[in-house]
Amino acid sequence: MTKKISAPETGICPERTNKTIPVMYYQAGLVIFIALIPFLFPSFRVMDVVAKIMIFTIVTASFDLLLGYTGILSFAHGMFFGIGAYSIALILFFAPNPSWVHIPLSIVVSLLVSIGLSVIISFFSLRVKAIFFAMLTLSLAEFAHILGVQWSGLTGGEDGISFTLPSVFNFNHSLGTLFHTEINGRLLVYYLILASTIALFAGLLRFIRSPLGRVLKAVRDNEQRTTALGYKTFGYKLYSIVFSSCTASLGGILFSMWLCYVNPGSVFHTAIMVNILLMVLIGGMGTLYGAMIGASFLIVTENWLPGLLKHMAAFAPESTLVNNLADRWQLYFGILFILVVLFFPKGVIGTIRSQMNLNRQAKQP
């Protein structure tokens, strides 16, 4: 029974060794491209869109960890994003003389709050049916939104909080120009976002490919069998929720730093949560890379579709019908979304992957 049998010559799972190099090249190319964007496109608009795509890639990928890898539908994910955003905004707004120390401080605060809240949520509702968990998190997220609006003494209510970033990250702080581009605080924040996105995305990738992440996949696939293998699934789901909430709140910090402004509507609103859900569905659940596709698709269309439609409407300035149709950009977004779902039922990455997988398995004896 314990005869030593060596693995076949190809190695037991040869995929990794064969694919590592090209994937790394793609990743490096993408990072270099994003890093060069401020120099390639002098318009702030492009930089703004790319920064938001990066932030939402992280938030969406961490949501995918929950939904796609563990099979938990939580509507409180947007709330953790908001917790991160508000923790840095409040700390920098109320600190008597903000310095760079307050940035790591707000990271610590938001992580502690996120860990605490997600543990409480899990203990209250993770043992019950999935639908109850979804409803509970939805009401909690709504509560956070109302709190943000009503507690105006702390949060500034609907008007939100504007703040300035300390030391080198201050947008008015200039270090001179390079290739006709001003090296200012905003550019530094952009690179901070890039570096954090790389680190957090790599962290998520490692998490899902770790022994723990493999157990999460098993939980999603067949929770009862996972238990019968000797895994206590509650603990594993708890890890997943805590890890993803923390990542989302870090995304919120980056979002807040990029805008230097936060209000309940932009971080706590249910629409944010719906956007995150759409991004996961467009990119593909359980793919992680799908988050990049989903975030890019949604944010690019949101930013440029209205403008594009206005340009098109300018060809027929007299027609009210054309102008009215051009105003309703969300209608076209809805159509685009339906098309994506029709042609990529498992999301863009998910559908491509399963197609490749089928081709590979068809070739096997």
Partner: protein, 255 residues
């Protein structure tokens, strides 16, 4: 001197509404034997397995494993203690690969499930061991396929491989050959026989194939309506009037 039983139930009962599926059952299983549990449909065989492995909590009574009361322990804890279980209805991870199905069982045993900072490939010995188990059940040529793409017989084999990978002290086999094609059955029987002859594990077997049970078992417990009506050697059981009535239908004489 009888050896201390490895599995023992005392007055074990479970009720589903008004239906008493297992009724005051006293079963004791000596270590390192192969004991079969037979009985007509609805006699409570699978329910008994669910009680022993922890899927169901009993309405009353106790379960002992190696002399310890495990009545209030969960499924995961019992599995870690050494009660491994295969299921009557195939119960695998459909969207994971065949190799990964077995690797997860090995990983559970190694207690590295909470490691999140290392790549799972950092434990290549787990994959090699998993491959060995697949070879034992003759499934090694399918190791890269998704488990949902296997045929029914192959999925049953995978189920056995998962169970072997758990390295349990007690194996609960719930109709391991159910729904298998005839040419696949001998391979599974060989595996069961091999485990039995090593005499380092206890096997509890639920099976409908009467001749197979007679050939394999050290002892047989016959269940009817949630009670044990006979618990003896295969020869004694096959000559027991009550058993013949219950199992083969009234009035059939065994020649």
């Amino acid at each position: 001197m009888r050896p201390e039983p490895i599995i023992e139930t005392r007055d074990l009962s479970i009720r589903f509404g008004g239906h008493v599926a297992v009724d005051g059952l006293n079963l004791s299983v000596a270590p390192f034997v192969l004991k079969s549990i037979i009985g007509p449909n609805g006699a409570g065989k699978t329910t008994l397995f669910n009680l022993i492995s922890g899927q169901y909590a009993p309405s009353s009574g106790q379960i002992f494993f190696n002399g310890h009361d495990i009545t209030n322990q969960g499924v995961a804890k019992r599995t870690r203690a050494g009660i491994g279980r295969s299921f009557q209805l195939t119960n695998i991870f459909p969207s994971l690969t065949v190799l990964e199905n077995v690797r997860l069982a090995l990983q559970a045993k190694e207690n590295i499930g909470r490691v999140f900072w290392k790549h799972y490939k950092a434990y290549p010995e787990l994959e090699e061991k998993a491959y060995d188990f697949l070879r034992q059940v003759m499934l090694d040529n399918r190791y890269r396929a998704d488990a949902c793409l296997l045929t029914h017989g192959e999925q049953r084999k995978l189920e056995i491989a998962i169970l072997l990978a758990l390295d349990p002290k007690v194996l609960l086999l719930d109709e391991p050959t159910a729904g298998m094609s005839l040419e696949d059955v001998p391979a599974i029987l060989d595996i069961i026989r091999e485990i039995k002859f090593k005499r380092n594990r206890t096997i509890l077997l639920v099976e409908h194939k009467f001749d197979m049970v007679m050939a394999l078992s050290d002892s047989i417990a016959v269940l009817q309506e949630g009670r044990i009506i006979c618990d003896d050697t295969p020869e004694a059981v096959s000559n027991n009037e009550q058993v013949l009535c219950a199992y083969l239908g009234g009035g059939v004489k065994h020649e």
